[in-house]
Symmetry: D2
Subunit: 328 residues, 4 copies
């Protein structure tokens, strides 16, 4: 490790996600391992502007690996979008001797990091943390695997009652403009149909598919709908549409909502967070900057932040086909 | 056991609830134990009318004690509300040699059982099964304890993200016109305020309470709202009202929905279901009828179905007070 | 509230149990509500002797209601069994202006409290906290309901593999000399046999029962064994004995162990802890002492500590019968 | 699809694993999708010998995607290791018109499949199902991800009580001769040390490490031990050794046992099982044989069964290093 970095700041920004605490813990402990100091920055960029800092030794992060949310809290900062805001932030970092930053968040957070770096040549490394899995350059973002388990557990419960009553349920799940959660959790939950932004099934085909389901002997059905779905109707309008066109169905809606963002992280997310947190510190200490650490083909990799921001994370076409086959 | 009962029918009716399968299992096995036959009736009273019956021996109910929903399925039957419907149902029972009925459900289901008994002198025993805990004559209905755990687990997840962002969440929970789920899960989840139908807090006091919360240093808050709350606004209107009056708050809404009705039953619900199922069979075999088996003061008890239907299950005033004290 | 009590100390002692944190939170907040100060005492009586104290305001206990273990930590203190130890402890309390104690723990902890009160006329109230449910004067101890759920969830998993292989499993559960956990979790998990200290089934009857199980068509079986069972063999010896006498069985053993003591408390335990914590403070403020707060017939009650220590918590004979019936 | 395959048999063999049911479901439904018949073979190769078959249409596998264990049951068959056994098995397949086999299991099961193919030119495809993740040619076996979550949840509970009492826990986890579960779950659970067969830490270094832990301020510790660990002592001997050498520690042991093999599969395992099940059928229909479907670098791939059996699945050196760094 050849850099002159002596103190690394770490922050969480944007929507919180399970595994962020495990990543904070890994960053803090990797700093201790490599003999650099570590400072926790509260409430993302806003805390950077307000100087809301706290020195963190390895014991400061004990018993957080299994906690949802983020002990450093998160916030969206309008002030950081201004030159003045970033100036204040930079002054605070300098005053506190902070040499480099690890930013845990999504593409909005990475954009802030990029701009900050371009203005102040401040070393920054990003760790992708969002349940939506919509970041280019990593097969998995922190929190995504946990959210998938949360969603399938919730749909398992809904299926109990759907089965008992021969009902059709529309279940809306998160994911912003990406269908990753809907597609994977839909397959995992044994959904009959999955509506995602990337594939516009169309209303007619949905009705067709439900008719076939019924004819094939299915007595209850689950349709998983991504919040960003482009079918042109929200989940409550979908219910109305189906009820009009298939009056034989008793249709219900469930919007899973914010519980998808929380919860004890899965083992996968804890391990991923630990790997990415360590790698982020090592990458800074190697003198690199403007990179996102991520997981590609099971290996920890580096992707330029710029690509991570601009690139698009696509759903796997094979999965769409698998979904069609196994819902027969 | 002195009756001439030789074959008992068992059905689930109304909304399904975790623990119904455990109760079915207990009824079936108690029949085997006491050497009477047992017949499962599918889809509640509707299946009784349609003759949708199945003989059930003790092995037929293996591995269902831990399953949510009901293997006998449930339905609401308009036909059973007619004299003709009940006539058909009675004819089917006679034809199949069924002497007595165990009805697992809520007050609507019990009303059906009462009328059926009054017309045909058919022995009936009720087992209270509903997550809402709104049945007089039992401290706990089947599924209630499980639903409480489902709700607190969901709110625990929501709290992760509420804490990370300093937010206020309104969480709507089930319970029809009763505040049991809201009050108990609200206490269990550490809610700042709990809005239940039995206590009209009023909008002004809600705002007052949230102001005090904020002043006392709380940075995030959960308000649990019972679906039958009488405050005069639904949960989305509440959000708007609070945002207007307290613009400093970032308010979110989560409606937990149907996942509350499903899931693996808790140990409490499994044991309760086992006790009530056995007692229902024993009570029929003792020649009694028109009773609900329930739990009062930790003991299995009998309550006339008429009282169970007309009586009111009240929330405990001590709990309301405890909630006020610990949310300080 | 008429006493001169101005500052209450709270400690956890003996084995930890889920719900202890919820009880600490309730004690701290009830103190705030009634305008008395509250001091957390770390590591039970040992911390009292060493003066390991911390003032606790209502915000100090935020976000702990859902945490297993105890934030005040627990310990067994040999020194507190000596006159000198208790003298030091008393001096520390006086020095810190602590007027009264809430002790969360089991009968050993209550015995310490009783002796301390008899020597120093120091007001003490006990809250029963142990997963074993072996305290007289309360139908439920803190942590018991959670432990039951932990055990049935573990056995549900074991049953998956038992069913897949037609195996017999002996599962040892906690409970010290009491069979509460084994009996209730055994019923909840659908166990074929339950061996508890209170009922000596005998080895011959066990073999008989397993034979009947097999003849009745059961292809796999779970036998739940309480750790304090008096059958004269430990769970591994039981395995050997059954394998010798029933070579057709593939027998396995699982000792669930310490995971039974931890975990997120159930809603029941959180609500119970909240009620008992509030009542403990109120009871002290009413000038009472040497009492245990508990739950009897669904109501919060007071039992003299002496009775709580000497009395015996019995398993319900009805449950033993139910277990026999439903395992047919 | 160009083969003459008209009927595919599917079986589960060896130790069961969560996700096997989801794989069975995917095989059955893919057969329906591609218009070939599907037959479930009970109890692995033994059922093949005994002709324990059942035709399975797409509705036969409803509501099993979320169930642990295997609805087809599993068994180890000594008879299948004989020429006569395999002859009987082959005769049964022919008699039932079964053209090809999907074998879900571990390397023992694959060896059986290979031999069977070499003798009868019978098309076989393997799906790796075992919690141990010890199969070459796939990054993940079915059940492995679920087992990791089961283990970290159990250790989370143990940590509650470890923290409350300042204890050292040795937790033994499954994995046969592979350290995958121990290493990943150990990192996920925040273990201080992880003992795996692939790395012999040695007793002296273990003591050293625990000493450093203590000095660094850790008050409780978890050591995760793989069942196949080569340190020369079992987990109870380890306890004794540490207590002798570090009398300041209160050491406990927990052997997690068979609960690791069961439970509701994680979303990951359900999706993986769905993908592999579909691919297994497609591969047979493409006229291929003697291959294992697996996941490599996030893609479904084919590996010759022979390699899958002989190759070795290694733990990732990066993970060992990460574990060292974050347990500082």
């Amino acid at each position: 490790m050849t850099t002159s970095i002596k103190k690394i700041g770490v922050l969480t920004s944007g929507g919180d996600a399970p595994g962020m605490n495990a990543a904070i813990r890994a960053v803090v402990r990797a700093c201790a391992f490599y003999n650099v100091e570590c400072v926790g920055i509260y409430r993302g960029y806003q805390g950077m502007i307000e100087g809301d800092f706290k020195e963190m030794g390895p014991r400061a992060v004990k018993n957080i690996i299994n906690k949802g949310g983020t002990v450093l809290k998160s916030a969206r900062s309008k002030e950081f979008m201004t030159t003045e805001g970033r100036q204040k932030a930079h002054a605070n970092l300098k005053e506190n001797g902070i040499d480099a930053l690890v930013v845990i968040g999504g593409d909005g957070s990475f954009t802030g990091a990029e701009i900050f770096n371009s203005e102040y040549k401040f070393p920054v490394i990003g760790i992708p943390g969002t349940i939506d899995n919509d970041i280019f350059g990593t097969s998995h973002t922190l929190g995504y695997d946990t959210a998938l388990n949360t969603v399938v557990e919730a749909i398992d419960k809904i299926r109990d009652t759907a089965n008992s009553h021969n009902r059709l349920f529309f279940v809306e799940v998160m994911g912003r403009d990406a269908g990753h959660i809907a597609l994977n959790a839909g397959i995992g939950a044994g959904a009959e149909e999955i509506l995602i932004p990337e594939e516009n099934l169309g209303l007619d085909r949905l009705i067709d598919s439900l008719r076939k389901s019924k004819e094939s002997g299915k007595t209850s059905s689950i349709v998983v709908v991504a919040e960003g779905d482009k079918i042109g109707k929200n989940v409550f309008e979908l219910k109305d549409y189906v009820e009009e066109n298939m009056p034989e169905y008793d249709v219900r809606v469930s919007v899973l909502g914010h519980m998808q963002r929380g919860g004890t992280p899965s083992c996968f997310d804890r391990v991923l967070a630990s790997r990415l947190g360590v790698k982020a510190v090592e990458t800074l200490l190697e003198g690199k900057t403007n990179l996102m650490v991520g997981l590609l083909q099971d290996k920890v990799t580096l992707t330029p932040l710029e690509q991570a921001i601009k690139g698009q994370s696509r759903v796997d076409a094979e999965l769409v086909k698998v979904s069609d086959i196994i819902s027969i």
